[in-house]
């Protein structure tokens, strides 16, 4: 149908509009100019368009003029296409990648402070070992544990550790990078 003036037809009944909701989690990796107020522009855009950010991580890249913002969003609730198009309208947003789950390495770090009475301490340390987590602080009543991994792994660790008495938790939100080609 690409040829000009040819008679092949485009039947109206065959036309379909692109799907709006994907139904899965999306990781958006944004390269933005490292300038004051850029994060406010992005956060403001999300709030006024009614988009909900699940996690957000901001940090430098290999280029000092460019920062990376990694966002996770629920594609069952938001039309991701519309989100990325709105983000693209911000002049300071250089590039947006909707990370392909298969071609992406995504990691999050979390810190857990857990009740650790003497009798349960060994069990908690065993969990930590299974999850490849590190004990970063020890006190008489609690342990502080650092876990790194995909979001699901951290969720799972949280579920395991919670019954012991989770005092406090801090998570960074995921950062992600594509597996093969560099971005710039």
């Amino acid at each position: 149908m690409g040829e000009p003036g040819t008679q092949d037809v485009v039947r109206l009944e065959d036309l379909e509009a692109s799907r709006q909701l994907t139904g899965r989690k999306h990781i958006l990796s944004l390269l933005v100019e490292n300038k004051p107020g850029v994060l406010a522009r992005i956060a403001g855009l999300f709030s006024r368009r009614g988009f909900n950010i699940d996690t957000l991580a901001v940090g430098p890249t290999e280029d000092p003029d460019v920062s990376r913002i990694t966002l996770t969003l629920d594609g069952a609730v938001h039309p991701i296409d519309q989100v990325t198009k709105q983000l693209h309208k911000l002049v300071n947003v250089i590039k947006i990648r909707d990370m392909e789950p298969d071609g992406t390495v995504a990691r999050e770090m979390a810190l857990f402070r857990v009740n650790a009475a003497v009798e349960s301490r060994a069990e908690i340390m065993q969990f930590a070992e299974i999850y490849d987590a590190k004990i970063v602080d020890v006190s008489r009543r609690s342990l502080t544990i650092e876990v790194t991994g995909a979001q699901e792994k951290i969720d799972s660790f949280e579920r395991m550790i919670r019954p012991h008495g989770l005092i406090e938790m801090a998570r960074t939100g995921e950062v992600a990078i594509s597996k093969s080609r560099p971005e710039h």
Binding site: M1, G2, E3, P4, G5, Q7, D8, V9, V10, R11, L12, L15, E16, A17, S18, Q20, V32, E33, P36, G37, A40, R41, G44, L45, R48, P79, D81, Q82, K85, Q86, H88, K89, L90, V91, N92, V93, I94, K95
Partner: protein
């Protein structure tokens, strides 16, 4: 060179001739620079109106409008025109003064974080942190404001930085903005698919909007629509992009559009949207909007596509580029225009059954619709008309048959009352040889009547035709129809003596309350030198029909 002087030089380098604004503490250096600069400064009487004047200037001419204000309250008064320019995609640059850098963040006198306040309503904003940025920022601001989908750009300049000494070099070429690459050319494959879909349509409607006017693509649009004599409707922002009295013209669509246009959308099998955005005033109840149609959506802003209505054939590009290609591809298909005969028959039936009409008075009373018709005749349909927001705006859209683009300047998206007078001042400055008439509402005009002083002071000969019904008429209409006639705060009470008020500012004031004298009065007003106000007393409780009640479907129009 002082940075403030560099600012003026940079504005001139962008082709700026006129600036609208008001001085104050934080932008004193800029006004000191304006003392010597070869820029004509129009001194508004309220910053909001400086902003709307810049919008009127831009809408009438297609050039970037510029408005200036001082920090704090001056800057916050610009928020309404900035938001207005955002909603209607008006190329504008706003330059605000800011308190000294050592005072920023201390709640200093007349400090307001205008960059923060305006973030949701600007296309972009630039806070100067180093005086050497000023020439670049001005260049970037004009580039961003005027390309792609146009919009407002704010430059906030701290007072001390505008006094600093910098080296000024004119900036040329396209600024380097890694995150800003507005699309221009439409994808030819998509255009071909659209042409072929249109060739198969039996009940097509072409639905155009303000994007056509912004792209200066009215000629290309008319040419495209001429293919097989396609039925055409326009939004309130698009009026003039297609000549109104025309055999293919269905009238405006939407809430106060014609039944013909809305029914045609309702029954269409293919809708080609050009530079419009499926606003709620167009779609009515979204779930029941054009239920039989597939959509081709042409827009320079990719985010508009599938925002409200999912597009089947999206084409991202400038209408001026896309339309000639679409016309060529469509005509190459050598379609049979007779396939539309049944559709046109149906449309003609609607046109015959449901023409725009009103019941004229049998005495001397002036019906508002009659006033618009008289205005059309008095101006030969050839004036630049600005309007406020409300019933008079909709009646003008219905009864003043705009046949050229950039002749109908109003606040469509934000719906800003009081837009008309300052916009008329801006339009007259931009196009001094054209007749500029502000069709004002009495509820709106009183919000901005200090601008009589601006027109008188600079001798800007705008004509204000005031449709005076003593009410916030559209709100009154809604209270009557949807709020059980519980009229609350919609009467204007003791109206000012408008002709005398205008005269107090140095205008010529006139009044008319008799139908038989109206045309002569308008003629006299148009022929009188200088700014003139004609206060026209119209029916107080006339409703604007037809109408899609809010949240209803197009086929459920009333009136």
């Amino acid at each position: 060179m002082r940075a403030a002087d560099a600012l003026c030089e940079a504005l001139k380098a962008e082709g700026v001739e006129h600036v609208f604004g008001i001085p104050g503490g934080a932008n004193l250096p800029t006004y000191d620079a304006l003392y010597d600069a070869e820029l004509i400064h129009i001194q508004a009487r309220h910053e909001q109106c400086a902003g709307h004047a810049a919008e009127g200037y831009a809408k009438a001419s297609g050039r970037v409008g510029v408005a200036m204000a001082t920090s704090g309250p001056g800057a916050t008064n610009l928020v309404t025109p900035i938001a207005d320019a955002m909603m209607d995609s008006v190329p504008t640059v706003f330059v605000t003064g800011q308190v000294r850098t050592d005072l920023i963040g201390t709640d200093g006198f007349q400090e307001a974080d205008v960059t923060g306040i305006t973030l949701p309503v600007v296309k972009h904003s630039l806070l100067v942190t180093d005086p050497r940025q000023i020439p670049d920022y001005v260049h970037e601001a004009f580039h961003i404001a005027s390309t792609g989908r146009p919009g407002p750009v704010l430059i906030d300049v701290p007072q001390d930085l505008s006094r600093a000494d910098i080296e000024y070099m004119p900036i040329e070429g396209t600024p380097e903005l890694p995150g800003y690459k507005p699309p221009t050319e439409g994808n030819i494959k998509q255009i071909r698919i659209a042409a072929k879909a249109l060739a198969n349509a039996r009940r097509p409607v072409i639905y155009g909007g303000g994007g056509i006017v912004n792209a200066n693509a009215s000629e290309e649009f008319r040419e495209f629509c001429a293919s097989d004599k396609l039925p055409v409707t326009l939004t309130v922002m698009g009026l003039g992009a297609f000549p109104a009295p025309h055999e293919q013209w269905l009238g405006m669509l939407g809430m106060h559009g014609t039944r013909t246009a809305n029914y045609a959308m309702d029954e269409a099998d293919l809708i080609v949207c050009v530079g419009a955005r499926f606003d709620d005033r167009i779609t009515g109840k979204l779930a029941e909007f054009a239920p039989r149609a597939k959509f081709v959506h042409i827009d320079v802003d990719p985010a508009e596509i599938s925002k409200n209505v999912p597009a089947h054939i999206p084409i991202v590009g400038d209408a001026k580029d896309v339309l000639p290609k679409l016309t060529r591809e469509y005509r190459a298909l050598k379609t049979d225009s007779e396939r539309l005969d049944d559709w046109w028959k149906r449309i003609r039936e609607w046109q015959t059954t449901y023409p725009l009409r009103y019941e004229d008075s049998r005495d001397s009373e002036i019906k508002p619709q009659f006033m618009i018709e008289a205005m059309y005749e008095a101006t030969g349909g050839d004036a630049i008309i600005t309007s406020d927001v409300g019933q008079h705006q909709m009646w003008a859209a219905q009864y003043y048959h705009f046949n050229q683009p950039r002749r109908w300047l109003n606040s469509g998206g934000l719906g800003t009352m009081g837009f008309g007078l300052p916009a008329a001042i801006g339009a007259k400055v931009a196009r001094p040889d054209d007749t500029v008439v502000c069709l004002a509402g009495d509820g709106s005009l009183v919000m901005v009547c200090q601008e009589f002083a601006t027109a008188a002071f600079h001798n800007i000969p705008v004509k204000v035709f005031l449709m005076n019904n003593g009410h916030f008429g559209m709100v009154r209409q809604w209270q009557e129809l949807f709020w059980e006639e519980r009229y609350k705060s919609v009467e204007m009470g003791p109206s000012p003596d408008w002709p005398r008020l205008a005269e107090a500012f140095g205008w010529t004031g006139m009044q008319c309350a008799d139908k038989s004298e109206l045309r002569d009065a308008m003629q006299t007003a148009l022929e009188t030198d200088g700014p003139v106000l004609l206060d026209v007393h119209v029916t107080k409780d006339e409703n604007c029909y037809p109408m899609i009640p809010a949240g209803a479907a197009a086929r459920d129009m009333v009136g």
